[in-house]
Subunit: 542 residues, 2 copies
């Protein structure tokens, strides 16, 4: 618990909230560890050691079960000992209703039972809704709900408090977290008369692979993939959002329990997207702020990739792919063609998923972005897959549009199955196609104005940061700056980082903390600067 | 193989195609059985018999493993013996590339290996794409791809051949399978000036629960839920399509391997939706064409529900819910309030999911449809969940809109997590809200015209059926008739049903066969009559 005495009721409440938050974070981590243990337990039970005689094998089975039981028991004890302290108010956790049990539904003893109770703890605590504890969800349902509400608490807070020019002017100050930079200009473009046409075909079931980027003229792709020679051979699959594309890729490239390498800090949504359906693990390739010879902070090297892969192998994890973000989120790094070639060479026996979500958000004119698909000779073109969407580059996250580009016809075909549950409205596809085909508007009006505004916002924010002596990575892409607030932590721990995060929240500013990007060092935050300019200026973020 | 000699090259090809189809169907069934066996194997391995001593337990483990191995071996032998006969052309199946194995990826012996090969067999055979066998997919990816392309072959055929007034006039004849009945009128409505407005908010991330039916005025719901007293208390969650809603419900209400009861024949999409992510089983409640005293064909009774539930219990399946479709698809039945109350009373300890997808497609004026949510006292309102969408009732399947209505706040909250991967475009939501709020247009223009056209099409089709002496169920709802073509089968088998299905396909008519609805009796088909009237008239479907 924090050592200094609280000064005001407000601070008292905040600290109390933090204490709960802290306990819940620990509890959640334990629950996740518990789930992992259960999964490992099942894997171990079902993976028989080969070429041993039967007696040995049976002995091994018995021993494994006893060991796992002991481990589960210890974990449960830890979790239960936290419960009274963490419970808000005096609401005791009730046992599940009997009607469930009367159907012969005994859930195999303690572990799941505790999981269920703990799940509801978080759930009950969530700001999302004042829910009644009804015990109607499956264990999986409770897990998902708890994990979601824990992972996306900031998002829910934002949705519940967001700025509205008429309805919520009091909050005008500082929800500087979403991309509003050019939305008025996009809005005008989308309202033009050629956008309002509705063909009957748009209203009916369509090809699940999607339509906006399909067709006879792929010139639109030159926007990002400059003069790509093989563009006509590319397969394109459209789903409703890049997270859906990523989740589906994890489904078709990995079996449950297999893994992707991910250099971290890295986009936090990957964890939820790979876990919800695919049960694919992320193996972090931890990058460090400390600079080695001739290097730069958080530099990705083949050495680090090899270490992480070796580590994963030793732990028995099957690594199927490498996930790269270029331009990087949250660092803002842009990989040179040479570096990218090294990473691809390293990953020749793996799938490489390159997330190029911010490819048009490179605002430093001295830097040229190269899509991996524009490279002349890919080491393994059949295992190089690119994700792109319009959410960031065109400030239209609400369109729910994500695309996969791949040379691999088998992967494209398997991915198209997911359109059944993840396709996008025909009318939205039509509008997107119109938007992306208007090259003149994009090249001469939209992108220059978008880049100018990014430059302006970046200049404003980095100037402020320099004045405040806050270290940051000075990069030329993305809608964010990766800043170091270690100096404001009492001690260099993730607990303190979370406390600082809550302090920002109290001032209506969402600064995503490094932990949500799987950063190894406490104290780093991602500051998004692509808010409405006047909001940005009035924001109290220091 | 068919006994009579083929007459023309065309017939020869067709019969050949059928032979492959038939072998593939059998192979697929074996693969599915194999997967089931593997799942059962794992379940059995991880479910230790309790309160026995350790020696017995270990002995049991060894014995189980040997039994399962023998069973898998037999199944594999059967599958492999089919392969040479079923392979089209001379393409032999190659072993997986070694790069995969060099990463230590030994997939645990025979079973999965065979699965992989068989999966690729189907895949290669699929009309969908001329794919290269690249071995880049995971086993799960291959399974999904094979299952999808087998389940949705007709859909893919339709997408590849569909009518277009300019581009594909040759096919004008008879793709009488999708809902075109009122799409022009909807098109006009969606093109009106108040529809083209785009608010900046619509372009940004939104509440994952969706917006079109949320808000201050829920009167739109009276369209279907006449004078619903508790409407203000209902929770609404919007996802991109009813299949996504159904899949997400299976995720949050069931743990993997648990089951839903489903009276069959029943909408075929349920099987894919529950399997892809949730791994939830469907336990069919087989209805029969033969009429018992005071009954009608394919009548659902509590007796049948109880039998199916008992059967599932004996087989060790955990049944979590009952799925009802009202109005029924493909039968067209509408449940009376009394019948519905009986089903709900039976299912008091289960969740009940009522799919009311066709609630506005009741065209017989003598029948009143009652939504389950309009019933005065539900036996268990907290476990009664309703799915509705606009795909059928408003002929706009391409909008990808599905809604869950439930009184259960916990279920609604857990369901909202799925918006992260299944949400719908903001602009599509806006248009839907506008469409559904225009009560005057819906009540006085759209629905009367929609119902009139359904009546006309139904009258035309049933008159033809009578002339041809084809038995059918004469109901007053839906866009389809359930017809009996048993007299056209050489023998009453699903093989012959499939052959007839292919004969229709040769004449560019998609008639979904009973097997895809899990019907127990061969020879039944669903005939959709909601095509463009002139297409319907020129269709050669006898």
């Amino acid at each position: 618990s924090p050592s200094d005495a609280p000064h005001t009721p407000c601070v008292q409440m905040r600290d109390q909230a933090f204490r709960y938050g802290s306990i819940h974070t620990q509890l959640m981590e334990m629950v996740l560890t518990l789930r992992q243990t259960v999964e490992d337990h099942i894997t171990q039970l079902t993976t028989r050691p080969q070429q041993q005689d039967l007696a040995l094998e049976e002995q091994w089975h018995g021993q494994t079960i006893r060991e796992q039981e002991a481990l589960l028991g210890r974990l449960l004890f830890q979790i239960v000992s936290f419960l009274p302290a963490g419970a808000p108010g005096d609401q005791s956790v009730q046992p599940p209703c009997t009607s469930r049990d009367s159907r012969g539904d005994v859930r195999g003893g303690q572990p799941v039972q505790a999981n269920r109770q703990t799940g509801q703890m978080f759930y009950q605590e969530s700001d999302f809704e004042n829910t009644v504890i009804s015990y109607d969800l499956s264990n999986r349902g409770i897990d998902i709900s708890a994990l979601y509400h824990l992972s996306f608490r900031d998002y829910d807070t934002y949705q519940g408090n967001k700025y509205h020019k008429d309805k919520n002017t009091l909050d005008e100050a500082s929800w500087a977290s979403l991309v509003w930079l050019c939305s008025r200009s996009i809005c005008q473009q989308l309202s033009q008369s050629d956008m309002t046409y509705i063909d009957e075909d748009l209203l009916q079931y369509a090809d699940w692979r999607g339509q906006p980027l399909q067709g006879t003229d792929p010139s639109y792709m030159k926007i990002g993939f400059q003069l790509l020679p093989s563009v006509y051979l590319l397969q394109v699959v459209i789903l409703n959002g890049c997270s859906a594309v990523f989740s589906a890729l994890a489904m078709v490239l990995c079996d449950p329990g297999e893994a992707f390498l991910v250099p971290t800090p890295s986009h936090g949504g990957f964890a939820f997207s790979t876990h919800l359906y695919a049960k694919v693990k992320l193996v972090p390739v931890h990058l460090e702020s400390q600079v080695s010879a001739n290097g730069y902070p958080f530099q990705l090297t083949v050495d680090k990739l090899e270490q992480a892969l070796l580590g994963a192998k030793i732990e028995g994890k099957k690594v199927r792919g490498l996930v790269l973000i270029n331009p990087q989120n949250p660092l803002g790094d842009i990989y040179s063609q040479e570096s990218m070639m090294e990473y691809l060479e390293f990953a020749k026996n793996l799938h490489v998923i390159v997330d190029e979500m911010y490819m048009l958000s490179v605002f430093d004119e001295a830097i040229t972005f190269h899509s991996v698909l524009s490279m002349k000779s890919l080491p393994d073109p059949n295992r190089t897959h690119v994700i792109w969407g319009t959410s960031k580059d065109f400030c239209i996250s609400g369109f729910r549009f994500g695309a996969l580009y791949t040379h691999n016809r088998e992967v494209a075909s398997a991915m198209s199955c997911f359109g059944y549950l993840h396709s996008i409205s025909g009318i939205a596809q039509y509008k997107l196609r119109q938007l992306l085909q208007d090259r003149e508007w994009i090249d001469n009006i939209y992108l220059p104005s978008y880049h100018f505004r990014l430059q302006e916002a970046h200049r404003y924010v980095t100037h402020k940061l320099k004045t405040l002596k806050v270290p940051f990575l000075n990069r030329g892409s993305g809608l964010y700056v990766w800043i170091n607030l270690k100096q404001y932590l009492k001690s260099c721990t993730f607990e303190e980082e979370l406390l600082l995060h809550h302090r920002f929240l109290d001032h209506k500013l969402i600064l995503s903390s490094g932990k949500t990007f799987m950063c190894k060092e406490p104290g780093w935050f991602r500051l998004v600067f692509a808010a409405r300019p006047h909001l940005l200026r009035s924001g109290e973020w220091s």
